[in-house]
Protein backbone atom coordinates (compact mmCIF):
# COMPACT_ATOMS: atom_id res chain seq x y z
CA UNK A 1 0.00 0.00 0.00
CA UNK A 2 1.45 3.36 -0.97
CA UNK A 3 1.96 6.02 1.65
CA UNK A 4 -0.66 8.19 0.01
CA UNK A 5 -3.29 5.42 0.17
CA UNK A 6 -2.40 4.76 3.78
CA UNK A 7 -2.90 8.41 4.69
CA UNK A 8 -6.24 8.36 2.82
CA UNK A 9 -7.39 5.29 4.76
CA UNK A 10 -6.34 6.87 8.04
CA UNK A 11 -8.25 10.06 7.23
CA UNK A 12 -11.37 8.05 6.32
CA UNK A 13 -11.16 6.13 9.61
CA UNK A 14 -10.75 9.34 11.63
CA UNK A 15 -13.77 10.92 9.87
CA UNK A 16 -15.91 7.84 10.56
CA UNK A 17 -14.85 7.55 14.21
CA UNK A 18 -15.55 11.26 14.77
CA UNK A 19 -19.04 10.88 13.29
CA UNK A 20 -19.72 7.73 15.30
CA UNK A 21 -18.68 9.40 18.55
CA UNK A 22 -20.98 12.30 17.67
CA UNK A 23 -23.90 9.90 17.12
CA UNK A 24 -23.35 8.11 20.44
CA UNK A 25 -22.95 11.43 22.28
CA UNK A 26 -26.22 12.80 20.88
CA UNK A 27 -28.06 9.55 21.67
CA UNK A 28 -26.89 9.51 25.29
CA UNK A 29 -27.48 13.24 25.76
CA UNK A 30 -31.10 12.94 24.58
CA UNK A 31 -31.79 10.21 27.13
CA UNK A 32 -29.78 11.40 30.13
CA UNK A 33 -30.89 15.01 29.75
CA UNK A 34 -34.42 13.80 30.57
CA UNK A 35 -33.43 11.26 33.22
Amino acid sequence: MSQETEIKHKKAKITAIFLLVMVVAIYLTVIFKQW
Binding site: T15, V30, I31
Partner: protein, 528 residues
Protein backbone atom coordinates in the same frame (compact mmCIF):
# COMPACT_ATOMS: atom_id res chain seq x y z
CA UNK B 1 -18.91 20.83 -13.99
CA UNK B 2 -15.18 21.09 -14.38
CA UNK B 3 -13.28 19.91 -17.45
CA UNK B 4 -11.62 16.55 -17.02
CA UNK B 5 -8.52 14.97 -18.49
CA UNK B 6 -6.08 12.20 -17.70
CA UNK B 7 -6.65 8.46 -17.46
CA UNK B 8 -10.28 8.28 -18.33
CA UNK B 9 -10.59 4.52 -18.58
CA UNK B 10 -9.13 3.10 -15.43
CA UNK B 11 -12.14 0.78 -15.28
CA UNK B 12 -11.47 -1.17 -18.47
CA UNK B 13 -9.98 -4.28 -16.89
CA UNK B 14 -11.45 -6.60 -14.29
CA UNK B 15 -15.14 -6.46 -15.07
CA UNK B 16 -15.85 -9.94 -13.70
CA UNK B 17 -18.18 -10.34 -10.75
CA UNK B 18 -19.57 -13.26 -8.74
CA UNK B 19 -22.84 -14.78 -9.83
CA UNK B 20 -25.83 -16.45 -8.14
CA UNK B 21 -27.64 -15.44 -4.97
CA UNK B 22 -24.41 -15.08 -2.98
CA UNK B 23 -23.38 -12.23 -5.26
CA UNK B 24 -26.18 -10.21 -3.72
CA UNK B 25 -25.84 -11.47 -0.14
CA UNK B 26 -22.11 -10.84 0.16
CA UNK B 27 -21.62 -8.02 -2.29
CA UNK B 28 -19.58 -4.99 -1.32
CA UNK B 29 -19.94 -3.34 -4.71
CA UNK B 30 -21.66 0.04 -4.55
CA UNK B 31 -23.59 -0.61 -7.76
CA UNK B 32 -24.97 -3.96 -6.55
CA UNK B 33 -25.90 -2.44 -3.20
CA UNK B 34 -27.49 0.55 -4.94
CA UNK B 35 -29.56 -1.81 -7.08
CA UNK B 36 -30.71 -3.74 -4.00
CA UNK B 37 -31.67 -0.50 -2.23
CA UNK B 38 -33.73 0.58 -5.24
CA UNK B 39 -35.57 -2.74 -5.62
CA UNK B 40 -36.15 -2.92 -1.88
CA UNK B 41 -37.60 0.58 -1.80
CA UNK B 42 -39.84 -0.17 -4.78
CA UNK B 43 -41.14 -3.29 -3.01
CA UNK B 44 -41.86 -1.22 0.09
CA UNK B 45 -43.51 1.39 -2.12
CA UNK B 46 -45.85 -1.33 -3.36
CA UNK B 47 -46.59 -2.50 0.22
CA UNK B 48 -47.19 1.07 1.43
CA UNK B 49 -49.24 1.66 -1.71
CA UNK B 50 -51.38 -1.38 -0.97
CA UNK B 51 -52.11 0.08 2.48
CA UNK B 52 -52.96 3.43 0.84
CA UNK B 53 -55.41 1.66 -1.48
CA UNK B 54 -57.02 0.07 1.59
CA UNK B 55 -57.33 3.48 3.26
CA UNK B 56 -58.83 5.08 0.15
CA UNK B 57 -61.19 2.12 -0.42
CA UNK B 58 -62.50 2.56 3.10
CA UNK B 59 -62.93 6.30 2.55
CA UNK B 60 -64.61 5.82 -0.85
CA UNK B 61 -67.96 6.50 0.78
CA UNK B 62 -69.20 7.36 4.29
CA UNK B 63 -69.72 4.57 6.79
CA UNK B 64 -67.56 1.57 7.58
CA UNK B 65 -67.02 -0.50 4.39
CA UNK B 66 -64.09 -2.90 4.46
CA UNK B 67 -61.78 -1.98 7.37
CA UNK B 68 -62.74 -2.01 11.02
CA UNK B 69 -61.61 1.26 12.70
CA UNK B 70 -58.79 -0.48 14.58
CA UNK B 71 -57.42 -2.01 11.37
CA UNK B 72 -57.87 1.31 9.55
CA UNK B 73 -55.67 2.96 12.18
CA UNK B 74 -53.05 0.25 11.71
CA UNK B 75 -53.16 0.84 7.95
CA UNK B 76 -52.60 4.62 8.29
CA UNK B 77 -49.79 4.10 10.81
CA UNK B 78 -47.93 1.49 8.78
CA UNK B 79 -48.56 3.33 5.50
CA UNK B 80 -46.70 6.35 6.90
CA UNK B 81 -43.87 4.37 8.50
CA UNK B 82 -43.31 2.15 5.45
CA UNK B 83 -43.38 5.00 2.95
CA UNK B 84 -41.02 7.23 4.99
CA UNK B 85 -38.53 4.67 6.32
CA UNK B 86 -38.97 1.84 3.82
CA UNK B 87 -39.62 3.51 0.47
CA UNK B 88 -38.46 7.13 0.14
CA UNK B 89 -35.33 7.09 2.34
CA UNK B 90 -33.84 3.81 1.03
CA UNK B 91 -34.58 4.91 -2.56
CA UNK B 92 -32.41 8.00 -2.10
CA UNK B 93 -29.69 5.89 -0.44
CA UNK B 94 -29.88 3.64 -3.51
CA UNK B 95 -29.27 6.67 -5.71
CA UNK B 96 -26.39 7.75 -3.45
CA UNK B 97 -24.81 4.30 -3.71
CA UNK B 98 -25.01 4.21 -7.48
CA UNK B 99 -24.19 7.81 -8.21
CA UNK B 100 -21.97 9.36 -5.54
CA UNK B 101 -18.83 7.23 -6.24
CA UNK B 102 -19.28 7.60 -10.00
CA UNK B 103 -19.88 11.35 -9.81
CA UNK B 104 -16.82 12.05 -7.66
CA UNK B 105 -14.53 9.60 -9.49
CA UNK B 106 -14.18 7.15 -6.58
CA UNK B 107 -13.87 3.37 -7.06
CA UNK B 108 -16.46 2.53 -4.37
CA UNK B 109 -17.85 3.70 -1.03
CA UNK B 110 -15.33 4.25 1.77
CA UNK B 111 -16.59 1.35 3.91
CA UNK B 112 -17.79 -1.29 1.48
CA UNK B 113 -18.55 -4.03 4.03
CA UNK B 114 -20.46 -1.63 6.25
CA UNK B 115 -22.40 -0.65 3.13
CA UNK B 116 -23.52 -4.28 2.72
CA UNK B 117 -24.53 -4.41 6.39
CA UNK B 118 -26.48 -1.13 6.10
CA UNK B 119 -28.57 -2.64 3.34
CA UNK B 120 -29.19 -6.05 4.85
CA UNK B 121 -30.55 -4.51 8.06
CA UNK B 122 -33.45 -3.15 6.02
CA UNK B 123 -35.22 -6.41 5.13
CA UNK B 124 -34.93 -7.45 8.79
CA UNK B 125 -36.60 -4.23 9.94
CA UNK B 126 -39.23 -4.39 7.19
CA UNK B 127 -40.11 -7.97 8.13
CA UNK B 128 -40.62 -6.92 11.76
CA UNK B 129 -42.73 -3.95 10.72
CA UNK B 130 -44.97 -5.81 8.27
CA UNK B 131 -45.03 -8.92 10.48
CA UNK B 132 -46.50 -6.81 13.29
CA UNK B 133 -49.88 -7.02 11.50
CA UNK B 134 -50.00 -10.70 12.42
CA UNK B 135 -49.18 -10.56 16.15
CA UNK B 136 -51.88 -10.48 18.86
CA UNK B 137 -53.37 -6.99 18.95
CA UNK B 138 -52.11 -6.21 15.46
CA UNK B 139 -49.71 -3.52 14.31
CA UNK B 140 -49.10 -0.15 15.94
CA UNK B 141 -52.15 2.05 15.45
CA UNK B 142 -51.22 5.40 17.00
CA UNK B 143 -50.08 7.10 13.80
CA UNK B 144 -46.60 7.15 12.24
CA UNK B 145 -45.56 9.71 14.89
CA UNK B 146 -46.33 7.17 17.66
CA UNK B 147 -47.25 9.77 20.27
CA UNK B 148 -47.71 8.55 23.84
CA UNK B 149 -49.96 7.68 25.60
CA UNK B 150 -51.27 5.61 22.64
CA UNK B 151 -47.84 4.17 21.95
CA UNK B 152 -47.12 3.38 25.59
CA UNK B 153 -50.42 1.48 25.80
CA UNK B 154 -50.32 -0.55 22.57
CA UNK B 155 -49.46 -4.26 22.33
CA UNK B 156 -46.64 -6.29 20.86
CA UNK B 157 -47.07 -4.51 17.52
CA UNK B 158 -45.72 -1.30 19.09
CA UNK B 159 -42.64 -3.14 20.39
CA UNK B 160 -41.96 -4.54 16.93
CA UNK B 161 -42.34 -1.06 15.48
CA UNK B 162 -39.90 0.35 18.06
CA UNK B 163 -37.33 -2.35 17.24
CA UNK B 164 -37.73 -1.85 13.53
CA UNK B 165 -37.33 1.93 13.84
CA UNK B 166 -34.15 1.30 15.87
CA UNK B 167 -32.77 -1.02 13.21
CA UNK B 168 -33.74 1.32 10.36
CA UNK B 169 -32.09 4.18 12.25
CA UNK B 170 -28.88 2.17 12.69
CA UNK B 171 -28.90 1.42 8.96
CA UNK B 172 -29.37 5.11 8.13
CA UNK B 173 -26.58 6.18 10.49
CA UNK B 174 -24.15 3.68 8.97
CA UNK B 175 -25.18 4.76 5.48
CA UNK B 176 -24.73 8.44 6.23
CA UNK B 177 -21.32 7.99 7.92
CA UNK B 178 -20.28 6.05 4.81
CA UNK B 179 -21.50 8.77 2.46
CA UNK B 180 -19.84 11.62 4.38
CA UNK B 181 -16.53 9.73 4.61
CA UNK B 182 -16.66 8.85 0.91
CA UNK B 183 -17.36 12.40 -0.22
CA UNK B 184 -14.83 14.03 2.10
CA UNK B 185 -11.98 11.60 1.46
CA UNK B 186 -12.37 9.91 -1.91
CA UNK B 187 -12.99 12.65 -4.45
CA UNK B 188 -10.87 12.48 -7.60
CA UNK B 189 -7.81 14.76 -7.59
CA UNK B 190 -8.84 18.27 -8.53
CA UNK B 191 -12.50 17.87 -7.54
CA UNK B 192 -12.79 20.51 -4.87
CA UNK B 193 -15.97 20.76 -2.82
CA UNK B 194 -17.25 23.61 -4.99
CA UNK B 195 -16.74 21.55 -8.15
CA UNK B 196 -18.88 18.66 -6.93
CA UNK B 197 -22.14 17.94 -8.76
CA UNK B 198 -25.20 19.30 -6.92
CA UNK B 199 -26.52 15.79 -6.27
CA UNK B 200 -23.37 15.01 -4.30
CA UNK B 201 -23.64 18.29 -2.38
CA UNK B 202 -27.25 17.69 -1.42
CA UNK B 203 -26.37 14.18 -0.23
CA UNK B 204 -23.42 15.45 1.81
CA UNK B 205 -25.69 17.90 3.62
CA UNK B 206 -28.45 15.30 3.99
CA UNK B 207 -25.99 12.82 5.50
CA UNK B 208 -24.94 15.40 8.12
CA UNK B 209 -28.62 15.96 8.94
CA UNK B 210 -29.06 12.20 9.35
CA UNK B 211 -26.08 11.97 11.70
CA UNK B 212 -27.56 14.80 13.76
CA UNK B 213 -31.17 13.66 14.04
CA UNK B 214 -31.19 9.86 13.79
CA UNK B 215 -29.66 9.45 17.28
CA UNK B 216 -32.43 11.73 18.58
CA UNK B 217 -35.04 9.38 17.12
CA UNK B 218 -33.15 6.44 18.57
CA UNK B 219 -33.14 8.19 21.96
CA UNK B 220 -36.85 8.89 21.96
CA UNK B 221 -37.83 5.35 20.96
CA UNK B 222 -35.47 3.96 23.63
CA UNK B 223 -37.28 6.11 26.20
CA UNK B 224 -40.60 4.86 24.86
CA UNK B 225 -39.37 1.31 25.28
CA UNK B 226 -38.20 1.87 28.86
CA UNK B 227 -41.52 3.57 29.66
CA UNK B 228 -43.34 0.52 28.31
CA UNK B 229 -41.25 -2.19 29.95
CA UNK B 230 -38.80 -0.89 32.56
CA UNK B 231 -40.90 1.34 34.77
CA UNK B 232 -39.57 4.75 33.71
CA UNK B 233 -41.92 7.72 33.31
CA UNK B 234 -40.35 9.92 30.68
CA UNK B 235 -43.71 10.47 28.99
CA UNK B 236 -46.11 9.39 31.70
CA UNK B 237 -47.72 12.34 33.51
CA UNK B 238 -48.78 10.10 36.43
CA UNK B 239 -45.11 9.31 37.11
CA UNK B 240 -43.90 12.91 36.77
CA UNK B 241 -43.18 12.75 33.05
CA UNK B 242 -44.69 14.70 30.17
CA UNK B 243 -46.23 13.36 26.95
CA UNK B 244 -45.56 16.70 25.24
CA UNK B 245 -41.83 16.10 25.83
CA UNK B 246 -42.13 13.17 23.42
CA UNK B 247 -43.57 15.47 20.77
CA UNK B 248 -40.70 17.94 21.15
CA UNK B 249 -38.02 15.26 20.85
CA UNK B 250 -39.83 13.41 18.06
CA UNK B 251 -40.25 16.53 15.96
CA UNK B 252 -36.67 17.61 16.56
CA UNK B 253 -36.00 14.49 14.48
CA UNK B 254 -39.19 14.64 12.43
CA UNK B 255 -38.88 18.01 10.79
CA UNK B 256 -35.28 17.62 9.57
CA UNK B 257 -36.49 14.20 8.39
CA UNK B 258 -38.74 16.00 5.90
CA UNK B 259 -35.66 17.71 4.46
CA UNK B 260 -33.74 14.44 4.51
CA UNK B 261 -36.40 13.22 2.10
CA UNK B 262 -36.42 16.34 -0.08
CA UNK B 263 -32.80 17.61 -0.29
CA UNK B 264 -31.56 14.65 -2.40
CA UNK B 265 -34.64 15.22 -4.59
CA UNK B 266 -33.42 18.80 -5.10
CA UNK B 267 -30.05 17.31 -6.06
CA UNK B 268 -31.55 15.00 -8.69
CA UNK B 269 -33.60 17.80 -10.22
CA UNK B 270 -30.52 20.06 -10.19
CA UNK B 271 -28.72 17.49 -12.37
CA UNK B 272 -31.58 16.92 -14.79
CA UNK B 273 -32.72 20.48 -15.52
CA UNK B 274 -29.29 21.72 -16.75
CA UNK B 275 -28.91 18.57 -18.89
CA UNK B 276 -32.19 19.00 -20.72
CA UNK B 277 -31.84 22.80 -20.90
CA UNK B 278 -28.30 22.37 -22.27
CA UNK B 279 -27.04 25.08 -19.95
CA UNK B 280 -24.96 24.97 -16.75
CA UNK B 281 -26.94 25.16 -13.53
CA UNK B 282 -27.75 28.81 -12.80
CA UNK B 283 -26.28 30.02 -9.48
CA UNK B 284 -24.38 26.87 -8.47
CA UNK B 285 -22.86 28.37 -5.32
CA UNK B 286 -26.17 29.93 -4.23
CA UNK B 287 -27.71 26.45 -4.64
CA UNK B 288 -25.10 25.02 -2.27
CA UNK B 289 -25.64 27.76 0.31
CA UNK B 290 -29.42 27.51 -0.03
CA UNK B 291 -29.24 23.74 0.61
CA UNK B 292 -27.09 24.31 3.71
CA UNK B 293 -29.43 27.09 4.92
CA UNK B 294 -32.48 24.85 4.53
CA UNK B 295 -30.71 22.12 6.51
CA UNK B 296 -29.75 24.50 9.35
CA UNK B 297 -33.18 26.14 9.50
CA UNK B 298 -34.87 22.72 9.49
CA UNK B 299 -33.40 22.12 12.94
CA UNK B 300 -35.06 25.14 14.57
CA UNK B 301 -38.65 24.84 13.39
CA UNK B 302 -39.83 21.57 14.91
CA UNK B 303 -42.53 22.97 17.19
CA UNK B 304 -44.65 24.22 14.27
CA UNK B 305 -46.02 20.66 14.37
CA UNK B 306 -47.24 21.33 17.90
CA UNK B 307 -49.02 24.69 17.84
CA UNK B 308 -52.14 23.13 19.35
CA UNK B 309 -50.23 21.17 22.01
CA UNK B 310 -49.86 24.25 24.22
CA UNK B 311 -47.04 26.74 23.84
CA UNK B 312 -46.31 30.30 25.01
CA UNK B 313 -47.14 32.99 22.42
CA UNK B 314 -43.46 33.91 22.08
CA UNK B 315 -42.68 30.29 21.20
CA UNK B 316 -45.45 30.25 18.61
CA UNK B 317 -44.13 33.44 17.07
CA UNK B 318 -40.55 32.16 16.94
CA UNK B 319 -41.50 28.88 15.28
CA UNK B 320 -43.92 30.57 12.89
CA UNK B 321 -41.35 33.09 11.62
CA UNK B 322 -38.50 30.55 11.54
CA UNK B 323 -40.69 28.24 9.44
CA UNK B 324 -41.59 31.01 7.04
CA UNK B 325 -37.89 31.83 6.70
CA UNK B 326 -37.29 28.43 5.06
CA UNK B 327 -39.30 29.68 2.09
CA UNK B 328 -36.40 32.05 1.26
CA UNK B 329 -33.63 29.50 0.42
CA UNK B 330 -36.29 27.26 -1.13
CA UNK B 331 -37.36 30.12 -3.39
CA UNK B 332 -33.69 30.64 -4.32
CA UNK B 333 -33.66 27.07 -5.59
CA UNK B 334 -36.90 27.39 -7.54
CA UNK B 335 -35.64 30.65 -9.06
CA UNK B 336 -32.34 29.01 -10.06
CA UNK B 337 -34.06 26.03 -11.71
CA UNK B 338 -36.31 28.40 -13.63
CA UNK B 339 -33.37 30.62 -14.59
CA UNK B 340 -31.48 27.53 -15.78
CA UNK B 341 -34.36 26.73 -18.14
CA UNK B 342 -34.66 30.34 -19.29
CA UNK B 343 -33.52 30.57 -22.92
CA UNK B 344 -32.10 27.06 -22.79
CA UNK B 345 -32.39 24.61 -25.69
CA UNK B 346 -34.97 22.61 -23.82
CA UNK B 347 -36.25 19.17 -24.71
CA UNK B 348 -38.91 17.33 -22.80
CA UNK B 349 -37.88 13.72 -22.31
CA UNK B 350 -39.45 11.88 -19.37
CA UNK B 351 -36.79 12.89 -16.75
CA UNK B 352 -37.33 16.54 -17.66
CA UNK B 353 -41.12 16.18 -17.55
CA UNK B 354 -40.95 14.69 -14.05
CA UNK B 355 -38.53 17.45 -12.99
CA UNK B 356 -40.81 20.22 -14.25
CA UNK B 357 -43.78 18.44 -12.69
CA UNK B 358 -41.74 18.33 -9.49
CA UNK B 359 -41.13 22.09 -9.50
CA UNK B 360 -44.75 22.92 -10.31
CA UNK B 361 -46.30 20.67 -7.67
CA UNK B 362 -43.60 21.04 -5.01
CA UNK B 363 -44.18 24.79 -5.08
CA UNK B 364 -47.88 24.17 -4.37
CA UNK B 365 -46.82 21.96 -1.43
CA UNK B 366 -44.37 24.63 -0.29
CA UNK B 367 -47.03 27.33 -0.34
CA UNK B 368 -49.52 25.23 1.62
CA UNK B 369 -46.61 24.69 4.06
CA UNK B 370 -46.26 28.43 4.57
CA UNK B 371 -50.03 28.62 5.09
CA UNK B 372 -49.82 25.86 7.73
CA UNK B 373 -46.97 27.73 9.44
CA UNK B 374 -49.26 30.65 10.28
CA UNK B 375 -50.38 29.94 13.84
CA UNK B 376 -54.06 31.01 13.66
CA UNK B 377 -54.56 29.08 10.41
CA UNK B 378 -52.67 26.04 11.69
CA UNK B 379 -54.92 25.89 14.75
CA UNK B 380 -57.86 25.56 12.32
CA UNK B 381 -56.33 23.02 9.95
CA UNK B 382 -54.33 20.95 12.48
CA UNK B 383 -55.01 17.24 11.98
CA UNK B 384 -57.30 17.83 8.99
CA UNK B 385 -56.97 16.66 5.40
CA UNK B 386 -55.40 20.03 4.54
CA UNK B 387 -52.23 18.82 6.24
CA UNK B 388 -52.49 15.46 4.43
CA UNK B 389 -52.77 17.30 1.11
CA UNK B 390 -49.81 19.55 2.02
CA UNK B 391 -47.33 16.84 2.86
CA UNK B 392 -48.36 14.58 0.00
CA UNK B 393 -47.65 17.46 -2.38
CA UNK B 394 -44.18 17.64 -0.80
CA UNK B 395 -43.46 13.93 -0.53
CA UNK B 396 -45.25 12.40 -3.53
CA UNK B 397 -45.03 15.09 -6.18
CA UNK B 398 -41.81 16.26 -4.51
CA UNK B 399 -39.66 13.36 -3.41
CA UNK B 400 -41.33 10.57 -5.44
CA UNK B 401 -41.51 12.52 -8.72
CA UNK B 402 -37.81 13.41 -8.33
CA UNK B 403 -37.05 9.71 -7.76
CA UNK B 404 -38.91 8.81 -10.95
CA UNK B 405 -37.04 11.57 -12.79
CA UNK B 406 -33.75 10.17 -11.48
CA UNK B 407 -34.57 6.60 -12.50
CA UNK B 408 -35.43 7.69 -16.07
CA UNK B 409 -32.31 9.88 -16.21
CA UNK B 410 -29.78 7.30 -14.99
CA UNK B 411 -31.34 3.99 -16.05
CA UNK B 412 -29.43 4.04 -19.39
CA UNK B 413 -26.19 4.24 -17.39
CA UNK B 414 -27.28 1.57 -14.91
CA UNK B 415 -28.66 -0.99 -17.35
CA UNK B 416 -27.13 -0.05 -20.70
CA UNK B 417 -30.64 0.12 -22.17
CA UNK B 418 -33.02 2.94 -23.02
CA UNK B 419 -36.52 2.92 -21.58
CA UNK B 420 -39.58 3.39 -23.77
CA UNK B 421 -40.06 7.15 -24.09
CA UNK B 422 -43.73 6.69 -25.03
CA UNK B 423 -44.48 4.63 -21.92
CA UNK B 424 -42.41 7.05 -19.80
CA UNK B 425 -44.53 9.97 -20.99
CA UNK B 426 -47.71 8.01 -20.33
CA UNK B 427 -46.38 7.30 -16.82
CA UNK B 428 -45.74 11.00 -16.25
CA UNK B 429 -49.05 12.36 -17.52
CA UNK B 430 -51.14 9.68 -15.81
CA UNK B 431 -49.25 10.20 -12.53
CA UNK B 432 -49.72 13.95 -12.83
CA UNK B 433 -53.46 13.63 -13.49
CA UNK B 434 -54.23 11.04 -10.85
CA UNK B 435 -51.97 12.62 -8.24
CA UNK B 436 -53.83 15.93 -8.46
CA UNK B 437 -57.17 14.14 -8.56
CA UNK B 438 -56.24 12.37 -5.32
CA UNK B 439 -54.71 15.16 -3.33
CA UNK B 440 -55.90 18.54 -4.63
CA UNK B 441 -59.45 17.92 -3.42
CA UNK B 442 -58.09 17.03 0.03
CA UNK B 443 -57.29 20.74 0.50
CA UNK B 444 -61.04 21.45 0.30
CA UNK B 445 -61.86 18.54 2.62
CA UNK B 446 -59.37 19.83 5.17
CA UNK B 447 -60.59 23.42 5.00
CA UNK B 448 -64.14 22.12 5.51
CA UNK B 449 -62.93 20.35 8.65
CA UNK B 450 -62.56 16.66 7.75
CA UNK B 451 -60.22 15.13 10.35
CA UNK B 452 -57.38 12.77 9.40
CA UNK B 453 -57.01 9.20 10.74
CA UNK B 454 -60.79 8.61 11.00
CA UNK B 455 -62.40 5.85 8.91
CA UNK B 456 -65.85 7.45 8.72
CA UNK B 457 -67.00 10.96 7.87
CA UNK B 458 -69.97 13.24 7.54
CA UNK B 459 -72.07 13.09 4.35
CA UNK B 460 -70.96 16.59 3.30
CA UNK B 461 -67.48 15.19 2.55
CA UNK B 462 -68.71 12.33 0.34
CA UNK B 463 -68.16 13.76 -3.17
CA UNK B 464 -64.57 14.92 -2.71
CA UNK B 465 -63.67 11.66 -0.97
CA UNK B 466 -65.03 9.65 -3.89
CA UNK B 467 -62.96 11.74 -6.34
CA UNK B 468 -59.89 11.35 -4.13
CA UNK B 469 -60.30 7.57 -3.88
CA UNK B 470 -60.78 7.14 -7.63
CA UNK B 471 -57.65 9.24 -8.20
CA UNK B 472 -55.71 7.10 -5.72
CA UNK B 473 -56.71 3.87 -7.48
CA UNK B 474 -55.63 5.40 -10.81
CA UNK B 475 -52.32 6.57 -9.31
CA UNK B 476 -51.69 3.10 -7.86
CA UNK B 477 -52.38 1.36 -11.19
CA UNK B 478 -50.14 3.86 -13.00
CA UNK B 479 -47.19 2.77 -10.87
CA UNK B 480 -47.61 -0.79 -12.19
CA UNK B 481 -46.94 0.73 -15.61
CA UNK B 482 -43.65 2.06 -14.19
CA UNK B 483 -42.73 -1.44 -12.98
CA UNK B 484 -43.50 -2.87 -16.43
CA UNK B 485 -41.50 -0.09 -18.08
CA UNK B 486 -38.41 -0.75 -15.92
CA UNK B 487 -38.53 -4.53 -16.52
CA UNK B 488 -39.09 -3.93 -20.24
CA UNK B 489 -36.10 -1.56 -20.28
CA UNK B 490 -33.81 -4.05 -18.54
CA UNK B 491 -34.86 -7.01 -20.73
CA UNK B 492 -35.58 -5.56 -24.15
CA UNK B 493 -34.63 -1.89 -24.12
CA UNK B 494 -32.72 -0.38 -27.03
CA UNK B 495 -28.97 -0.23 -26.40
CA UNK B 496 -27.95 3.03 -24.75
CA UNK B 497 -24.91 5.00 -25.87
CA UNK B 498 -22.33 6.32 -23.39
CA UNK B 499 -24.03 9.73 -23.44
CA UNK B 500 -27.69 9.43 -24.39
CA UNK B 501 -28.39 12.95 -23.05
CA UNK B 502 -26.24 15.43 -24.94
CA UNK B 503 -26.37 18.08 -22.22
CA UNK B 504 -24.93 15.86 -19.46
CA UNK B 505 -21.57 16.88 -18.03
CA UNK B 506 -20.90 14.75 -14.94
CA UNK B 507 -18.23 12.04 -14.77
CA UNK B 508 -20.52 9.02 -15.14
CA UNK B 509 -21.59 10.31 -18.58
CA UNK B 510 -18.32 11.78 -19.81
CA UNK B 511 -16.06 8.93 -18.65
CA UNK B 512 -17.98 5.68 -18.36
CA UNK B 513 -19.65 3.51 -21.00
CA UNK B 514 -23.26 2.34 -20.66
CA UNK B 515 -23.84 0.18 -18.71
CA UNK B 516 -21.25 1.36 -16.20
CA UNK B 517 -18.71 -1.48 -15.69
CA UNK B 518 -18.76 -3.42 -12.43
CA UNK B 519 -15.57 -1.69 -11.28
CA UNK B 520 -15.10 1.94 -12.18
CA UNK B 521 -12.47 4.62 -11.53
CA UNK B 522 -9.91 2.25 -10.02
CA UNK B 523 -7.51 4.86 -11.35
CA UNK B 524 -9.11 8.18 -10.48
CA UNK B 525 -9.63 10.75 -13.22
CA UNK B 526 -7.89 14.10 -12.80
CA UNK B 527 -10.15 17.12 -12.81
CA UNK B 528 -8.91 20.50 -13.93
Amino acid sequence: MAAVHGDAHGHEHDDHHPSGIMRWVKTTNHKDIGTMYLWFSFTMFMVGGFLAMGIRAELYQPGIQILEPELFNQFTTLHGLIMVFGAIMPAFVGFANWQVPMMIGAPDMAFARMNNWSFWLLPVAATMLIGSFFVPGGAAAGGWTFYPPLSTQGGLGVDLMIFSVHVLGASSIMGSINIITTILNMRAPGMTLMKMPMFVWTWLITAYLLVLVMPVLAGVVTMLLTDRHFGTSFFNAAGGGDPVLFQHIFWFFGHPEVYIMILPAFGIVSEIIPTFSRKPLFGYSSMVYATASIAILSCVVWAHHMFTAGMPAVGQLFFMYATMLIAVPTAVKVFNWTATMWRGSMTFETPMLFSIGFIFLFVIGGFSGVICAIVPIDIQVQDTYYVIAHFHYVLVSGALFALFAGVYYWIPKWTGHMYSETLGKWHFWLSMFFFNMTFFVQHFLGLAGMPRRVPDYNLQFADFNMISSLGAFGFGLTQLLFLYLVIDCIRKGEKASQMPWDGATTLEWTHLPSPAPYHTFETPPVIK
